[in-house]
């Protein structure tokens, strides 16, 4: 395996600080890993939300993991464009979210989002019992990227990664 591929593999395995069942690659925030001729590694990350407080921790975890793997010179840069979308969460990531009890996102809306009042919302499947009879209790949750839902079949509350 080339050294550059190894750096990418190390970066891809770093866990997300707030959704620790996902790697940064699963979440889609790891945008690029490059190694220069002098051996230095540059990792590009994108924030999920503008105010995501985990960005600093992600940067630190990437630097620490790569250093531990023998890459002494590591830089982490921020990419803002194109903005992160929940569509970038990988299939593996969606599976891991569901196994962990967090409902994965559906397809993100594209283009301007119209204001719709009083509409029936798309059902989200309960990650515990699989029922589609669920309801949103709050569009905001313990992190910016998740909403609070409740299953009407098994009565369990659960989190849902929002489509964005």
């Amino acid at each position: 395996m080339s050294v550059s591929m190894r750096a990418r593999e190390v970066a891809e395995r770093v866990a997300d600080p707030e959704l620790p069942m996902l790697t940064l690659a699963d979440l889609g925030v790891l945008r690029d890993v490059e190694q220069a001729a002098d051996g230095s590694v540059t990792v590009a990350l994108t924030p999920t939300y503008s105010g995501c407080p985990a960005m600093a921790e992600m940067r630190a975890d990437v630097v620490r993991s790569l250093r531990e793997a023998g890459f002494a010179d590591v830089r982490v840069t921020t990419v803002l464009d194109p903005p992160w979308t929940s569509d970038w969460i990988s299939e593996a990531g969606r599976r891991k979210l569901a196994e962990y009890g967090v409902a994965p996102p559906g397809e993100a809306p594209r283009g301007p989002v119209p204001l719709v009042l009083g509409a029936v919302r798309r059902a989200v499947e309960c990650p515990r019992c699989g029922s589609g009879d669920t309801e949103e209790t709050s569009r905001f949750s313990s992190t910016a990227c998740k909403a609070l839902w409740r299953c009407r079949s098994c009565s369990e509350p659960f989190e849902h990664v929002k489509e964005i």
Partner: protein, 280 residues
């Protein structure tokens, strides 16, 4: 420490474990982004635009954070804090951009903590005290509907790639903020006599400050009609009438503020000003 090291790492690894006692303690949120100002973009104009939009977001986020421990329900407290956090993130990037392009080299912390009220450029709508929940949601609806319309235009065609990217990201967040506020305005407006009355009073209380908001971003095409249509849609569902937005003299963009801004900044800036450069 290298520039790429930062607070969490130092905390975790028991190296130099000091960190800023105020401010974010985090790195520049535009770290590693190409910050060159493109040819043909007037740096002073770009800085003024980012400063106004950044201050709107910073002051809004401070007011939203004041709802923590005071909201009617835990879910609303979490929602309002989340919305405030999104706006704080937008403010950090916009204020950082200001310091990059205006030639002063000021950081986000310099701009947030070391300016006097008259140097702030936020519109007066966002600095008004929270009032009751109805007032706060009415304000959030107008603010987020307007900001969303403005950000859609900036994301679609502003010549500065950093502002364009910040706006494109913000658009996704603001759509959620607008939806949240609109649903509460409908729920309260079309609720009990008491909630209807309070929501009507909330709209009347913000009405004098809305024209200033509509005039606050003259460099993008006018969004008054688009925002007006959203407000009319919500008002109809809420059994309310959109009040008249009569013009009021002065503008926060020129440093004209209500007496409400100074106490807000005093609280927000108190630690940074009392202990300059402090770390813990």
């Amino acid at each position: 420490m290298r520039e790429d090291d930062h607070v969490y790492l130092s905390l975790a690894e028991a190296q130099d474990d000091s960190r800023w006692a105020f401010g974010t303690g985090f790195e520049d949120p535009l770290h590693g982004v190409d910050t060159t100002v493109p040819d043909g973009v007037d740096p002073a104009g770009l800085a003024a635009l980012c400063l106004g939009l950044g201050d709107d977001a910073l002051v809004s986020s401070q007011r939203l954070a004041e709802w923590c421990t005071r909201a009617p329900e835990l879910e609303e407290e979490v929602a309002l804090a989340n919305i405030g956090l999104d706006l704080l993130g937008q403010a950090r990037m916009l204020l950082t951009r200001v310091g990059q392009v205006d030639g002063t080299g000021r950081t986000e912390d310099d701009l947030a903590y070391q300016r006097e009220p008259e140097d702030y450029r936020n519109v007066r709508l966002v600095e008004l005290p929270n009032g009751d929940f109805a007032f706060s949601t009415a304000r959030l609806l107008v603010f987020s509907a307007h900001r969303l319309a403005v950000f859609e235009r900036l994301a679609g065609g502003h010549p500065d790639p950093v502002l364009r990217a910040v706006a494109a990201k913000g658009v996704k967040e603001l759509a959620y903020h607008r939806q949240y506020a609109a649903e509460w305005v409908v729920r309260l407006g079309d609720g009990t006599d008491e909630s209807h009355q309070r929501m009507r009073e909330g709209w009347e209380a913000i009405a004098p400050y809305v024209d200033e908001l509509f005039r606050a971003v003259p460099s993008v095409p006018d969004v008054r009609d688009e925002v007006g249509a959203v407000l009319a849609q919500v008002a109809e569902a809420a059994t309310l009438t959109v009040p008249e937005f009569a013009p009021m003299g002065g503008s926060g963009r020129d440093g004209v503020h209500t007496p409400c801004l100074a106490p807000l900044l005093f609280e927000m800036q108190s630690v940074a000003r009392a202990l300059p450069g402090a770390s813990w």
